[in-house]
Subunit: 289 residues, 2 copies
């Protein structure tokens, strides 16, 4: 008998810049129990790992104990699957290289794998979600940043160093906006939530026509504000979404030339701009989550 058959559940941990969400999941992908903590509440990675475990352990115990858990899967910004480390993540409070998979293993005694958050999303969609049964697709996460997870021949693409799938950092506009990565014109600077807000501020400053967005102070505008205004028929907000969708569509067309996927799966709030993006594609499926 394989003792793994006794291990009914896995634990998933999703580390975001604001919140860390974790849960216990069964083999069918159903979340049995979940909770969350504030990521930025812990000044050191050690305290953070302690805090996650302190909140996660009661859930594990309530569902049969550590022996029932087959493994832990962690999705994290700048996560490296090969080493189980988070490396120089600009949106997390801990600097340098953090061996987080080892830190969880040490504290809980459960095998732990860690990868980039967009890769984790791609594996999730391939196993339980929109990309079930697909062997060639690209997952795009449109959040604070732009992430991507690429599946080719049914396998995640990690690249030789674990950092493949950085479509947020292809150049959408040569010599364009300065990106946190140090380059100029990265897709992320236009098509993330922060990129949309940046486009809004630029357009409001450059133009004079009325807009619902003028009721909000420029520095506090969010992509949600732009979306709400667009839905209410605000022309400037609609133009911002159209520009965003065009730039995203152009970059995704280049990605299609690369790997010819059967689908691109868009995830995150900005996926609602789908109508603007769809018209740029002909042969590929586009799935909004």
């Amino acid at each position: 008998m394989n003792s793994n058959l006794e291990k009914t559940y896995v634990v998933g941990i999703d580390i975001g810049g604001t919140n860390t969400v974790f849960g216990i999941v069964d083999a069918r992908g159903t979340i049995i129990a979940s909770s969350s903590i504030k990521t930025a509440g812990c000044p050191t990675a050690e305290e953070y790992a302690d805090e996650v475990c302190k909140n996660l352990l009661p859930l594990i115990i309530a569902n049969g104990g550590v022996d029932k858990i087959r493994g832990i899967g962690v999705g994290a910004p700048n996560g490296n699957y090969y080493t189980g480390t988070i490396e120089f993540a600009p949106n997390l409070p801990w600097k340098g290289i953090i061996p987080l998979a080892a830190m969880f293993e040490e504290r809980l005694g459960i095998p732990t794998a860690l990868t980039n958050d967009a890769n984790a999303a791609a594996i999730g969609e391939m196993t339980y979600g929109a990309a079930r049964g697909m062997k060639d697709f690209i997952m795009i996460t449109l959040g604070t940043g732009v992430g991507s997870g690429i599946v080719i021949n049914g396998q995640m693409v990690y690249g030789h160093d674990g950092f493949a799938g950085e479509l947020g950092h292809v150049i959408a506009r040569r010599g364009g906006r300065l990106c946190g990565c140090g380059r100029k014109g990265c897709l992320e600077t236009y098509c993330s939530a922060t990129g949309v807000a940046r486009t809004a501020r630029e357009l409001l400053a450059a133009r004079t026509e009325p807009s619902l967005l003028r009721n909000i102070s420029a520095e506090s505008i969010t992509s949600k504000d732009v979306y709400d205004a667009a839905v209410q028929g605000d022309k400037l907000a609609q133009e911002i979404f159209e520009t965003t969708g065009t730039i995203l569509g152009e970059s995704l067309a280049d990605a299609i030339a690369f790997s010819s996927p059967e689908a691109i799966v868009l995830f995150g709030g900005l996926a609602k701009s789908g109508d603007y993006i769809m018209k740029l594609f002909r042969n590929q499926s586009m799935i909004m989550c």
Copy 2:
């Protein structure tokens, strides 16, 4: 006993717009015999297949006969590995979809696989050449067009329809030069041999400074002329190569963000512009063939 052990050789056929080169190759990659015909000399694909076989068969017979040949591998522009067909190749004289693998199998009774020429080059470099032992690399062929073959996790990337690896058709300049594919600004329109000649014509028309290239009639300038002038110290020709190298470097940097390869292998006459391209990269190897 596996009868394949008796089959000592394979046949390779490289179909180009001008010449078709074919040869008999042993298991160590040594070419035992080879010959070529003019591709464009045959008005129909049937006559072409007859002509290749007529010239290839004597080589096969001189080396032990059809029983000694394990298989035929064909590299062709717009070749589809999944179907063994050439599909709408703009640089070949036969239009539509040509089932060329089946046509060779029928004529010679030897199993035949066909793929895109850049994919075939990538497999060759992985097996016998510059990319031996590599699992993640990108092969770029800089010829009349720009082709690419992508290897990830040790496997060729074909995509869901067999047409992955079309880096010649990522957009290097939005709204730029019209490409044979119908889009504008494709990498191929700048960084192929024809693209270099096009840059030369544009620069000679737009500028007034002296150049060795002014001794050649504009419409007959080739990339070889530009290279020869650059080597002789011609400033305008050097600028053309620098522009070409910059555009290629920018597009390859985006490809690196996609698959994080351990190396990019450049093949073809323009790979000589390597010095201009190298400085745009930091962590990846660049191999010129």
